[in-house]
Every structure is written in structure tokens, then in C-alpha cells.
């Protein structure tokens, strides 16, 4: 079979497998919601107080920038499972025995990722036409101006996201939750780079569009210091000015920068082949770790299993008395905690201890603003297993056939998550208690309840740890770290405390708990 046919079928099978899942409908619904935000003006492009007439060029450019800004984050998490799916389903073992080369595989997966992201963009393309017709400011549909922003602005960005997702999946350290955290910071770093530096660093295309629009606004309303905003509430002060803008004037230099990013995407997809283990667990970093302790046989061969045909003495199985069939919640809680903390390396404990010590010794203001939020970021990848673990490791049949899985195991799982919050953030609580900061202590209690409840609810409903990792990261980044009171679940901001945000988060926690219980009930109902 020739190479392009191989890549095509890899792309096709992977794409069909993904779009036939129920979760894809949810993703498309979220994409439609994004289009709706643009259509209703909640997500708008502003140059100071200037906006364009809602014609094809303006709406498509806005949509393309929305894609590049938001889908570059969310889309990465949506598609970062192509290799993992082959690993989990065992299809990878079959593929590994074929003649398909590693570069073809990673390229095929990157193209499949791009196809999935492209289908989301296709929805937004259609939404652009609908939005333009509904806005009614200019009903002339210019297909070229509608298509160009998607093709030249969005496509290179999505190609990079698609390839990076494959690269992350092939790098053992970035394959799991840690990779999700790393991408969040990569994405966060892309924004200032795009706006401030521009040129080849402007993969999002923000600087490119901004420069063009600044010129157009200056031509229409005279030179002024304006600002570029992609949002709904933070445009410049003053009356709204509307200009007619007919789209970007694509120069060869601009086209070259976009082509550069497409070539970069191809390079990244091919680079992923270098790290791809071809589904051989012995080749990866984990495989090497796993192989180390195995005892070597006399001929140097690795002993994998207890040797067959070794006589084993008869074993008596004692009957279990009725008295020993006694449920103890503490036993389950201890077991859940062990499950949560098992396998942590020394550096994880050292980090947790460091945050605890910093919480006890740093100035109180710093504890509130930085140390506690960081201490509650440290165990994120442990919390993210709550609720999702049973699906991930296929233990539902074992656990759900035990008595009262809803009343016994679920509360123990949740309490183990709360205990983890107490363990890592306990230093701050001691300080609040010692200094009589009761409102901060109250916020701390709410935070300790909120985080594991969020993890449990999202894990139970998504069956994956990824959703919690993404949502928690975003809330953490916006709320405690950037001091936005409405997202402040730790009591890091005075405004948040004053406006009663802890009470709001307590209410949200209660709702999430109800959602988690409903999620487990749904699982139990089979």
C-alpha cells in the first residue's frame, strides 16, 4: 500500500471513530455556542471604540480570531487522544505490526486531528453566514472574504495545534495530565508573543490583523491611540465608531508567515515520530522503569511471570465469619487515600512539604495571594483522577458489584479528595486560624470542598480526567492567580471575600455534588 493511501486511511478511520462518538456532538454544540457569542456581540473585535460593519470580511475575521484564540486551547484538549486511543483500544498493537512507518503514523494522526478541528471550524464558517444575514448591516455574501480568514488565519494555527497534540502524546512526560498543564502555559505565552512581537511569532494572527485594522481605523477616523480587543466588555471608552472594512490585504510577506506555520506544523508532526514508541512499552520511559526491577534469569532473560508447573502446596481457604463482614467507612477512606497518593515520587512529597512550610512562614498576604493557590495547584493531577479512575482503569464491574457503591465508595472518594486539599493547603488554614481571619478561613473551607467536588463531578460525567484539568486550570489562572474576584475560589482577593464569593462557590459545590451523585447513579444504572 502506498504512503498517501496509508495516511488517508489512518486519517479516515481515526476521524470517523471520533466523530461518531457522543462527545463529538457536545463539542460541536460548544462550537455553535462560540458562534452564538460572536453573533450576539458578546465576543466582538474592537479597535478602541471602532468596529467594522458586519460584512463577510469582518465577521469571518472575527470568527477566525475566535478560533485561533479559544479553539487553540480547547481544541488541543479535544484532539489530544488520538495516539492514546490506539494504545487503549489495542489497535496500536495491530498497526505496529504493519509496514506503516512512524512518520506516516504521526503525520496521519496530526491530519486526523486537523480534520476534527476543521469540522469545528466548518461549523463556525456556516455560523458566519448566518450571523451576517441576521446582523443585516450588509447582506452581500462575499465567499472569498468569508473563506480567506478561515484558510489563511485559522488553518495554520489549527495545523500547529493538531501537530503539537501528537507531539505531546508521543513524549512520555507530556502524555498525561502534566502535558495538559504545560499546553495551558504554552497557550498563555502565545498571546503576548503574538501581540507584542508579531511576525513569525504571531501564529494566532492577532498582530497581523491588529496592524491592518489600526491602519483602517486611522484612515476612517484619524490617527489615535486605540487598543485591540477581542471580547465584549473591555472596549475603549467613548461612542462606538463603525467603519467599512473589506478584509486583509494579503501580501506575499503575510502569506509567507502563514505558510511558515504550516511547515512548522508538518515538522512538529514528523518530529513526533522520533519520540513515538510504536506501541512498544519497553521502548518508552515508563517501560524502562518497569523493566528495571524484574529479576534476570540465569541466561540473562527477563523473568516475566511465575514459572509454570512449579508445584504449589495445597492452600486452605478459611471461611469468612459473619462478624468480619462489617463495613467500616474509615477503611474505605484509607484505601481511597492510598489509591490517590500511591506512586507519588519523592519530589512530589518534597513539593507538598515546601508549600506547607511556605504557608506557615511566608507573610500572610503572600500566603493568600500566591502560596495557597500554588499549593492547591500542586495536587491537581491527583484530584483529576477522582470520578474518572473507574472508567480509565476499567474497574467499574468490580466496584459496582459491591454493596452500596453510591453510599460507601463515592463519599470515601470525595473525602479522600478533601483530605488532600487539607493536607496540601493546611498550612494556610493554621495561619488564618492563628490570626483570626475568619472570612479567609471560611473561604479556605469552601475551596477545600469545591476543588474535589468539581473534580468528582467532571470526572464522573466525562469519564476522563482531562475536563477537570482544563477547567480547573482556567479557573485557577483567572481567579486566584490573576485576582479576578468572580473566579476566586480560595479567598485570594479582598474583593472576592467582600462580595461573598465563598458563599457563591459553596452553592456551586452543592450543585456539583448533586451532579456527581447523579453521574454515579447513571453509571450504576448501566
Amino acid at each position: 500500500m502506498n504512503a498517501h493511501r496509508m495516511v488517508w486511511h489512518l486519517l479516515r478511520a481515526d476521524f470517523l471513530e471520533r466523530v461518531r462518538r457522543y462527545s463529538f456532538l457536545v463539542i460541536l454544540a460548544a462550537t455553535v455556542a462560540l458562534g452564538w457569542l460572536v453573533g450576539t456581540g458578546k465576543l466582538q473585535l474592537w479597535i478602541g471604540t471602532v468596529r467594522g460593519v458586519d460584512n463577510s470580511a469582518w465577521i469571518a475575521t472575527t470568527m477566525a480570531l475566535v478560533v485561533n484564540t479559544f479553539l487553540s486551547l480547547a481544541g488541543f484538549y479535544v484532539v489530544k487522544n488520538a495516539v492514546d486511543r490506539d494504545r487503549q483500544t489495542g489497535v496500536g498493537q495491530i498497526l505496529a505490526t504493519t509496514r506503516m512507518s512512524k512518520p506516516l503514523y504521526t503525520l496521519g494522526k496530526a491530519l486526523s486531528n486537523l480534520a476534527v478541528l476543521g469540522s469545528m471550524v466548518a461549523v463556525l464558517f456556516v455560523a458566519s453566514i448566518v450571523v451576517q444575514l441576521l446582523a443585516g448591516e450588509d447582506r452581500r455574501i462575499d465567499l472569498v472574504q468569508l473563506l480567506l480568514p478561515f484558510l489563511l488565519l485559522a488553518l495554520p494555527m489549527l495545523a500547529v495545534v493538531a501537530a503539537m497534540a501528537v507531539l505531546f502524546e508521543t513524549l512520555p512526560g507530556l502524555r498525561g495530565g502534566f502535558g495538559n498543564v504545560v499546553w495551558f502555559f504554552v497557550w498563555a505565552a502565545m498571546m503576548p508573543l503574538a501581540i507584542e512581537v508579531g511576525g513569525l511569532f504571531d501564529v494566532i494572527g492577532l498582530n497581523l490583523v491588529n496592524r491592518n485594522l489600526e491602519v483602517a481605523a486611522a484612515a476612517a477616523f484619524g490617527p489615535a491611540k486605540r487598543g485591540f480587543v477581542l471580547g465584549g466588555i473591555e472596549r475603549g471608552d467613548g461612542p462606538v465608531q463603525i467603519m467599512r472594512w473589506e478584509g486583509l490585504d494579503w501580501t506575499s510577506g503575510m502569506l509567507a508567515t502563514r505558510l511558515f506555520w504550516i511547515l512548522m506544523a508538518v515538522s512538529v508532526a514528523l518530529l513526533a515520530a522520533v519520540f513515538f514508541d510504536r506501541f512498544d512499552p519497553a521502548r518508552g520511559w515508563l517501560g524502562r522503569r518497569a523493566a528495571r526491577p524484574r529479576p534476570a534469569g540465569a541466561n540473562g532473560a527477563v523473568v516475566v511471570e511465575a514459572p509454570a508447573f512449579v508445584p504449589v502446596p495445597a492452600v486452605h481457604l478459611s471461611p469468612l465469619s459473619e462478624a468480619s463482614r462489617r463495613f467500616r467507612f474509615l477503611d474505605v477512606l484509607r484505601a481511597e487515600l492510598r489509591l490517590l497518593l500511591n506512586g507519588r515520587r519523592w519530589w512530589w512529597w518534597a513539593g507538598a512539604a515546601g508549600f506547607l512550610i511556605a504557608s506557615l512562614t511566608a507573610p500572610l498576604d503572600a500566603v493568600q495571594k500566591f502560596v495557597l493557590p500554588l499549593a492547591w495547584m500542586w495536587p491537581m493531577l491527583l484530584w483529576s483522577s477522582l470520578g474518572a479512575r473507574e472508567i480509565r482503569f476499567d474497574t467499574t464491574a468490580l466496584l459496582f458489584s459491591a454493596a452500596r457503591p453510591l453510599g460507601r465508595q463515592l463519599p470515601a472518594t470525595w473525602m479522600a479528595g478533601v483530605a488532600l486539599a487539607v493536607l496540601t493547603g493546611g498550612g494556610a488554614a493554621v495561619r488564618f486560624l492563628a490570626t483570626g481571619q475568619w472570612d479567609s478561613l471560611g473561604a479556605w473551607v469552601v475551596g477545600a470542598l469545591f476543588i474535589p467536588t468539581l473534580a468528582l463531578a467532571l470526572g464522573l460525567w466525562s469519564g476522563s480526567s482531562k475536563l477537570f484539568e482544563v477547567i480547573y486550570l482556567v479557573i485557577w489562572y483567572i481567579g486566584p492567580m490573576n485576582q479576578v474576584p468572580t473566579m476566586d475560589y480560595t479567598g485570594a482577593t479582598a474583593a472576592g471575600l467582600a462580595s461573598g464569593m465563598p458563599l457563591v462557590f459553596l452553592g456551586v459545590t452543592a450543585l456539583l455534588m448533586a451532579t456527581a451523585i447523579a453521574g454515579r447513579r447513571r453509571q450504576l444504572a448501566g
Binding site: 504449589v312 469468612l320 468480619s324 463482614r325 463495613f327 467500616r328 454493596a403
Partner: protein, 297 residues
């Protein structure tokens, strides 16, 4: 101790019935559940293990409907699913302690039980090794150990010998026979020899329906005088396959020895032989299918 399955049916999406009008009454002993792939064995197992609710009918455990009050059964249930996972970072002892806690077994009793079970499944030496580094067979043995943790009164094992080496398979069969004396054991498999070695009763299932439920001796007597051995030249084998119900073939220097299940002798040279459970199983299965075809015709 009684498990009563009353007209149970399970409908999946697309109006596909995995199980239909299934009735069975069970007391202590080992019931071997035989059937081809997709017969509905695993669906039945999942219903009995309270994982799946039946669409129609009911299952009574000592008179209690398990769909309404599943916990009565769950506290005395041991279940080994066909596919299951383990937590890769836990070792065998930690994993079994976790399951024991969830099943509500007292800590001290659990520890003793775990020691015995690990010895029983021959994993004492690997007890401290993370389960992620276990082979498929070792993982299967952990599955067997967890199913026996709470000294179950109802033990449901779905394809339990998959991945086990021959010695472990024999040990597990013996264990099942021992356990069957004082509890209900349901063994689902398509390996007839596993059932032959352990079962005190056999149920044959096909396309979601119960075709037969009898003691092995009764099933065997049903095909007494209907099993023949016939030596054929290799070239005649394809024609024989088309004409007769062949349960096994093996090649010898004098030709292919064919085992045929038929009420009539396939040839004057064919000699009658003692039937095996595999012959009886095939006879029930084929007989039912032929009956169905006749009805359709």
C-alpha cells in the same frame, strides 16, 4: 440458598435482545453456562452481578428481587467479569485491601484472607509488584482472588481461564469444584473441557435463549449412540463437513479420524463411540438451529 431467574430479557439499542425469556432456578453447585460467542452469556452474568438491570422479568436471590434490593446479594457476591482492569500503581496486596474495604470486610479478616488467596492463586512472590507490571495471566489470577475475597455465596465467573497457563487452569478448575459444594457457582465459558471438569449442571444458551438445562450425565445420555468415529481420506473431509455435524477431527497415518454426531451411522465403516460433553453441546446447539430452520421453512 436459591437463585431464581424468571423470564428475564434484556433489550439493547436498536431493538436487539441480548437475552429473551430466560428462566432458570439454581441451588448450590457449579453451573456451566455454554454457548457460542454473542449467545448472551455475559449479558446474563452482568444481570446476575447487579451491573445491568433486566428489561423484563426478574431475578430473585433467596426470594428478594435483586433489581429492587441489590445490596442483599452484593454483600455475598463474588464476580469476575470477562474484561476488567486494575489500578496499575497498586500492588496485589494493596489492590485486594482496597476491594476488601469496598466490599465491607473487616481489616484483620481481610489481611488473612488476602494472604490465603494470594497463595491460592500462586502470586505470593509477586505480591509487592505493582499490578501494572503483571502479565495477562497474573492479572487474571488477581481477578479470581478479588472475586473470592468476601467468601461469596454466589460466585459468578465469566471466562475465568482466559490467559491462564495449563497448570493454573487445572488448579482453578479444582478450586471451582471445591467451592461449588456449598455455594452457587456460575461459570460462563466456551471452553467445554472447563465445564466438563467442574460443572454439576449445564445450561446451553444461544441467541439469548436457554436451549437446555440439565446435569452433564443427562446431556450425555441424550446423544448416547449418536456419536461416530469414521476414518476418511483427507480429500473427502470437505464433503463430509458439508454433510455431517463434525465435532472434532484429528489426523493419523491411516487418514483423518472424524467424530460425527448423527442419529444414523454416516457410513458402514463408522464405529459408535462414547459421547463427550462437546458432542452433547454441539448436538443441542445444532438440533435447536435445525428446528428453527424447519419452522421458518
Amino acid at each position: 440458598m436459591n437463585l431464581s431467574i424468571e423470564r428475564v430479557g434484556k433489550r439493547y439499542r436498536g431493538d436487539f435482545w441480548g437475552l429473551r425469556d430466560f428462566t432458570l432456578n439454581l441451588g448450590p453447585g457449579v453451573l456451566g453456562l455454554l454457548g457460542p460467542n454473542g449467545a448472551g452469556k455475559s449479558t446474563l452474568m452482568r444481570i446476575l452481578a447487579t451491573i445491568t438491570r433486566p428489561t423484563e422479568g426478574r431475578v430473585l436471590w433467596n426470594g428478594e428481587d435483586i433489581a429492587r434490593t441489590p445490596d442483599g446479594l452484593r454483600s455475598v457476591l463474588g464476580y469476575l467479569p470477562q474484561d476488567f482492569g486494575v489500578y496499575p500503581n497498586l500492588n496485589a496486596v494493596e489492590f485486594l485491601e482496597y476491594i476488601a474495604a469496598v466490599k465491607g470486610i473487616d481489616g484483620r479478616a481481610a489481611r488473612q484472607r488476602i494472604d490465603e488467596l494470594l497463595a491460592l492463586v500462586n502470586l505470593i512472590d509477586a505480591r509487592k509488584r505493582p499490578l501494572g507490571r503483571y502479565s495477562g495471566g497474573m492479572r487474571q489470577r488477581i481477578g479470581i482472588a478479588q472475586a473470592l475475597l468476601n467468601d461469596p455465596k454466589l460466585l459468578i465467573v465469566d471466562e475465568p481461564t482466559v490467559g491462564l497457563d495449563p497448570e493454573e487452569r487445572v488448579r482453578f478448575r479444582n478450586l471451582l469444584s471445591d467451592l461449588g459444594g456449598e455455594r452457587i457457582v456460575l461459570l460462563s465459558t466456551h471452553i467445554v473441557s472447563d465445564v466438563e471438569a467442574t460443572a454439576t449442571g449445564i445450561a446451553v444458551v444461544d441467541r439469548g435463549r436457554l436451549l437446555a438445562h440439565a446435569e452433564p450425565e443427562a446431556l450425555l445420555s441424550g446423544v448416547e449412540g449418536q456419536v461416530w468415529e469414521w476414518v476418511l481420506p483427507s480429500a473427502d473431509l470437505p464433503a463430509a463437513r458439508e454433510r455431517w455435524k463434525i465435532s472434532s477431527t484429528f489426523r493419523r497415518a491411516d487418514g483423518v479420524h472424524v467424530r460425527i454426531v448423527s442419529s444414523l451411522a454416516p457410513s458402514p465403516e463408522a464405529v459408535p463411540v462414547a459421547p463427550t460433553l462437546e458432542d452433547a453441546y454441539l448436538s443441542v446447539l445444532e438440533g435447536h438451529r435445525a428446528e428453527k430452520l424447519e419452522k421458518v421453512a
